[in-house]
């Protein structure tokens, strides 16, 4: 009995750890820090805690496995509240990718709800916008390459290239953190995409949106030169959570658990 008991407990406690290691296997640890996003809290610096981020965007075949386990996310069964009519539109059927879809290309035409659920089912979550942008400042060699002309040129060149969503994951550069494809394949959902407050009016450039948004005076781009980032924020402001878009995919993130076993706050506003 004591032997059995010990092995039972060993198994019991080992299992979750194995699961956690397995989850972090295909993830990179991003050391947090303070940075000023293009568009943030009072347009000042925000703090980002350490976090894990998937090395690659989620692929069609990975998403297919998820759909098989969770039939309520099949394209014929998904509720319109959670995903619009273009959900997985290029897939041949509920359970077949078909010829038009590259299995190891990023899954696109997925809604925010679908992306969020997928990550939850992996024991992960979507990255916050601040986390995503923090990691995406990197090029191959630097954590923050935003001032390099080549960095912005690369991204803007990609924005003009058609059908990059059909390219397999890992086909763009490996960044400073070891993460691939943050730029170059697809745009990605973030957990708080709906914290960008741009109205039709503010995109037109007049200032009459004070009645639409409380505290809209705080909104402003800190670096309008960073046109690539501006496009991302404007895009996020223009989409709704059940929209599915052909060049919009996602990847997951995860909190880093500190020594006390407590989860760190995923993002703190810093003044």
């Amino acid at each position: 009995m004591p032997v059995k008991l010990t092995s039972y407990f060993l198994l019991l406690f080992a299992l979750p750890w194995v699961a956690i290691w397995a989850q972090e296997d295909q993830m990179a640890k991003v050391k947090g820090g303070v940075y000023t996003p293009l568009y943030g809290a009072d347009s000042t610096a925000v703090g980002v805690s350490d976090f894990y981020m998937d090395l690659y965007p989620v692929t069609n075949s990975e998403y297919l496995a998820f759909v098989n386990d969770h039939p309520e996310w099949k394209k014929s069964r998904v509720k319109k509240l959670f995903a619009d009519g273009l959900y997985l539109r290029n897939w041949e059927s509920d359970t077949k990718l078909g010829k038009k879809v590259v299995p190891n290309a990023p899954v696109t035409n997925v809604s925010w709800f679908a992306a969020k659920k997928y990550c939850e089912c992996q024991g992960k979550r979507l990255p916050t916008m601040d986390e995503w942008e923090f990691a995406a400042r990197a090029d191959e060699t630097m954590a923050d390459a935003r001032n390099k002309p080549g960095y912005n040129k690369y991204i803007l060149g990609w924005y003009e290239a058609p059908h990059t969503f059909k390219n397999p994951i890992g086909s763009t550069f490996k960044n400073y953190y070891g993460i691939y494809d943050l730029h170059g394949l697809v745009w990605e959902w973030t957990s708080d995409f709906n914290s960008v407050l741009l109205s039709g009016e503010s995109r037109k450039g007049n200032d009459e949106d004070a009645n639409l948004f409380c505290g809209s005076a705080a909104i402003g781009a800190t670096d309008l030169m960073n046109y690539a980032a501006f496009m991302r924020y404007a895009f996020r402001a223009s989409i709704k959570a059940n929209y599915t878009v052909q060049n919009l995919g996602f990847r997951c993130a995860k909190n880093v658990i500190d020594n006390k076993g407590e989860q760190e706050l995923s993002f703190n506003s810093m003044k």
């Binding site: 299992l15 979750p16 809290a41 509720k79 509240l81 009645n211 639409l212 948004f213 409380c214 705080a218």
Partner: protein, 202 residues
Amino acid sequence: MRIYKILTISLFIFFAACKDKPKEKETAAAHKVTPSDKISDMSIYNLPSVWTDQDGKEIELKKLKGKVLVMVMFYTSCKIACPRLVADMRNIEKQVPQEDKEKVKFIMISIDPETDTPERLKTYAQENQMDSDKWLFLRGSQEDTREFAAVLAVSYKQISPMDFSHSNIISVFNQGGELAYQQEGLGVNNKNAIDKILELAN
């Protein structure tokens, strides 16, 4: 032996946490779905979230089915836009005739659940004469709040420990939980919203 069971079960829950509808098939087969149970694909009653009201009671969104809902997202420490947003809500509430008021519920959802405890919401309701049973103040988890905002197409961001930027949108839902009308902005004419509420209530 019991402890084994408990541990095993809790371990199972750990792995199964993402499945919020594992018994869908069984329940559908077990009891016949009556027409009034049915909700459409676009209904907010598809959301599984549980909220806490101003009396500290837990409430499932589904409990509100059958009523016309007028909803706004706000927070109590907001000094700039929210008083006007609240004024708009009160204005709409006043213009719904007494005989229709049973059919309509006015709902204020906090985007600052950390600060807006039930006590705080209750005090706010009393101070603003919104303490009749027509008014429901709700707070949920950060995540459910973000999700609900996503459904309403409301954007918000914490811009300092005390302040949020947020969209000023009043949303009207029909008895089945489908979005029927949205009014965006402050100090706009409430007539269209009121017309829609009355049309749905009658």
